[in-house]
């Protein structure tokens, strides 16, 4: 067989169609995935990627269309049928029982008999074998909630392999991983492919697509618009296919024009709920008209620092000044009045009430504003008009302010939060992970808005685990390691230098 002749297809999707009420999530999708390959799927937020994969895994039912596995048509009515057909899936949000051990999670649904005792021994042996074969190491007796995300994800992969999956679907697996964890994952995926497994990988990071996939398919607004051999395409082409226009992959920005200090942090120390010091005697300033980026591997105190500045977490020592005024003990509402806006890291926990309709979330926190109400009553019309304006400006899809927020795709949920905070035109903006799970078109847009904020003389503090994002947006970069600021660099600093500092090796 020559290299160019297509390998035998592992999966064929023919004419898959799916509607959620009025939302047409998948329109007549055709897709062929070759056996023993890594096939990337990219597309904007809400393009229908997760929906398509959930149909393949039997989590949703397609309205029309056919699925063929190794050439044979199959009906996948539920996940059990998918498992039987050799399909495994690592979901965007892990499907793990958090207070169970790794072993129990892996065995769940494949216990090997009515009594657990019988299965346990063979499961242990099998886990050991998978660990040796694919480099998937986790301690089978550790409890899930005590494991870092990277290991939790390995458990998800182990679950699929333990059930004999030949086809593995991963939905945005690197969104929550630190760079070394992501590297480890890719190593595992390559080994799996080389042993003949078929892998479907959904991601927003084109760099990952170029690095690891063999073939890549692009979805746009529910349709499959193109499929390319990875070797024969470029990041630019893929970006254009995804969004339907040219995209700037790196924002253009002029020199900063820093003014007066608007925000300063002095000797700040923050402890978490267990009493562990997460932020250790940190001091810095942010001036009007500059973006200060905080780089660091997740879990080195950035989250706690942001929360302390946003008034959500009480610092145990030190001071925070806004506009020269100490703000210890001022609550988040008071801080908002002082002109501080906050885009929280975790939109599900802190940014949104998922059960609310979009327009309600789009003013959440600002609901006391005169423009949204009269006396104790809310002016729903004004709120909806306001929401529609933001929807238009930020291209939030579907453009329906009455839709429950939970029904928006992840990236669009993020846009709702960003729109709410930026459109308030605050004096200071603190941002955590502004583009987590967001597609490149939206990243470009959000980045532009952040730079516009800077150019309009606002002080911006940015925390992100994406080093690229920090480097392309920040005017100054502070590197955080183990709760301390270990150094300051200009935005020209190389990835290598920053990487070493983030690992606590060099300053």
């Amino acid at each position: 067989m020559s290299l160019d002749s297509p390998k035998e297809p592992a999966i064929e999707l023919v004419g898959i169609d799916k509607k959620f009420g009025t939302v047409h999530a998948n329109k007549n999708i055709n897709l062929t995935v070759a056996k023993g390959s890594i096939h990337g799927i990219i597309g904007e937020n809400g393009a229908g990627k997760s929906t398509l994969m959930s149909i393949l895994y039997g989590f949703y039912q397609a309205d029309h269309g056919e699925i063929r596995i190794s050439g044979k048509p199959v009906t996948i009515r539920d996940s059990q049928a998918a498992i039987a057909a050799g399909i495994g899936m690592v979901h965007q949000h892990f499907m793990l029982v958090e207070n169970f051990t790794v072993l129990e999670n892996v065995m769940l649904g494949a216990e090997g008999g009515q009594l657990l005792a019988k299965g346990v021994a063979s499961a242990r042996k099998e886990l050991k074998r998978l660990e040796d074969d694919y480099g998937l190491e986790v301690d089978p007796d550790s409890v899930i909630e005590e494991l870092p995300v990277g290991s939790q994800q390995r458990v998800e992969i182990l679950k699929a392999l333990y059930r004999g999956a030949e086809i593995l679907i991963l939905d945005e697996p690197t969104g929550v991983l630190t760079p070394p964890e992501a590297d480890h994952l890719f190593k595992v995926l390559r080994v799996l492919r080389d042993q003949g497994k078929t892998i479907i990988l959904i991601t927003h990071k084109l760099r990952e697509i170029m690095a690891i996939t063999d073939t890549v398919s692009v979805m746009r607004r529910g349709e499959m618009v193109a499929t390319r051999k990875t070797a024969e395409t470029t990041v630019e082409e893929l970006a254009e296919l995804m969004v339907g226009r040219r995209v700037l992959l790196r924002v253009e920005k002029g020199a900063a024009n820093p003014g007066a200090v608007l925000m300063s942090v002095r000797n700040l120390t923050v402890r978490d709920s267990r009493g562990v010091t997460m932020v250790d005697n940190v001091s810095f300033d942010v001036r009007a008209g500059e973006i200060v980026g905080i780089a660091g591997v997740a879990g080195n105190g950035q989250s706690e620092l942001l929360e302390a500045i946003a008034g959500i977490r009480k610092p145990s020592a030190g001071e925070i000044f806004i506009d020269g005024k100490p703000v210890a003990g001022v609550d988040p509402a008071g801080l908002r009045e002082l002109g501080l806006a906050h885009i929280p890291e975790d939109r599900h926990h802190m940014g949104l009430v998922l059960k609310f309709e979009e327009y309600e979330n789009s003013i959440l926190g600002y609901h006391r504003d005169a423009k949204y109400g009269r006396g104790p009553f809310l002016d729903l019309d004004a709120m909806r008009r306001d929401a529609e304006e933001k929807i238009g400006k930020y291209d939030i899809r579907p453009p329906n302010p009455r839709l429950r927020t939970a029904n928006f795709s992840g990236g669009n949920q993020q846009k709702i939060v960003v729109a709410r905070e930026i459109e308030r035109d605050p004096k200071m903006l603190i941002i955590g992970q502004p583009t987590r799970g967001v597609d490149i078109g939206a990243i470009e847009f959000i980045h532009k808005r952040i730079i516009e904020m800077r150019d309009a003389g606002k002080a911006v503090l940015l925390v992100s685990v994406e080093l690229d994002e920090i480097r392309s947006l920040s005017d100054r970069i502070l590197v955080m390691f183990a709760g301390k600021i270990v150094g300051e660099k200009s935005s020209e600093a190389g990835e290598q230098t920053l990487g070493l500092m983030m690992a606590g090796i060099a300053a």
Partner: protein, 323 residues
Amino acid sequence: MDYFDIFVSILGSAIRLSIPLLFTALAGLFSERAGIFDIGLEGKMLASAFAAACVAYWTGNAWLGLLGGIGISIVFSLMHGFASITNRGNQIVSGVALNFVAAGLTIVLGQAWFRQGGRTGQVPPEGRFSSIILPGADMMRDVPIIGPLYANVISGNNILTYIAFLMVPISWWVLYRTRFGLRLRAVGENPGAVDTAGISVAWMRYRALIVAGFLCGFAGTYLSIAQSAAFINNMSAGKGYIALAALIFAKWKPVPVMLACLLFGFLDAFANFMQGKSLPLIGEVPVQIFQALPYILTCVLLAGFIGTARPPKAGGVPYTKER
């Protein structure tokens, strides 16, 4: 009577009072660990007490009475499941509704069938579970300390009491050592994980409710044809709620459930003993204080003074695939 005799007699009655709590709390253990709040335990217990009394009265057979009690309790469980699993209704609302149905129906049917103001007819002795004297109880009676304990606390109970205590290790074994138990605990924590593992969430939860119905049937039966000889209006008298409190107090674990039920049973027995008596220094303590103690203890626990109670994570939430 010296203090030891008093203690033994309180202990004996504590055991008897804790049995319906134990069956009911174990029932709640199964449903709540599967993610279904079971506030309807009270109603199930009441309905099964009534059914057991009726069947035992008509047939004169205690075991058939037990079967009737279990049957009705399972029917109630299934109704709870139909409302809250199949139709994704609110589990608290459905449970409270069942409590009302049980309270009303037992009175209406009781009056229609027996015309004794809500009482059923007196169940004949062979239709009741009577005390079993364990071998050697009489001989042991004179042995100091152990003798009275054996004769009055260990021996002399009816068969349901022994079954109740047997159910504790069995429940533990089922929950922690079988496939059914693993899946049941998983479905109460993260039904999504169970669903994506290819197991039906609804069917798992129904099975948990059936087990709960089965256990709760014993509790009702115990009330009407073991502890007494007829069904009386509102016989459960809030025991379902106390059992629920015991379940929370025990942090949803089988062996602690038994200890919590024994503690609450002991408080009840002590309250009965203290009725009309006065304590040195303090004087007469209102019996209501003892009756309220299980609830107070549970509140103190929930407020975080005695460690933290971590309820099953998916408890109370109907499972849907939609976001």
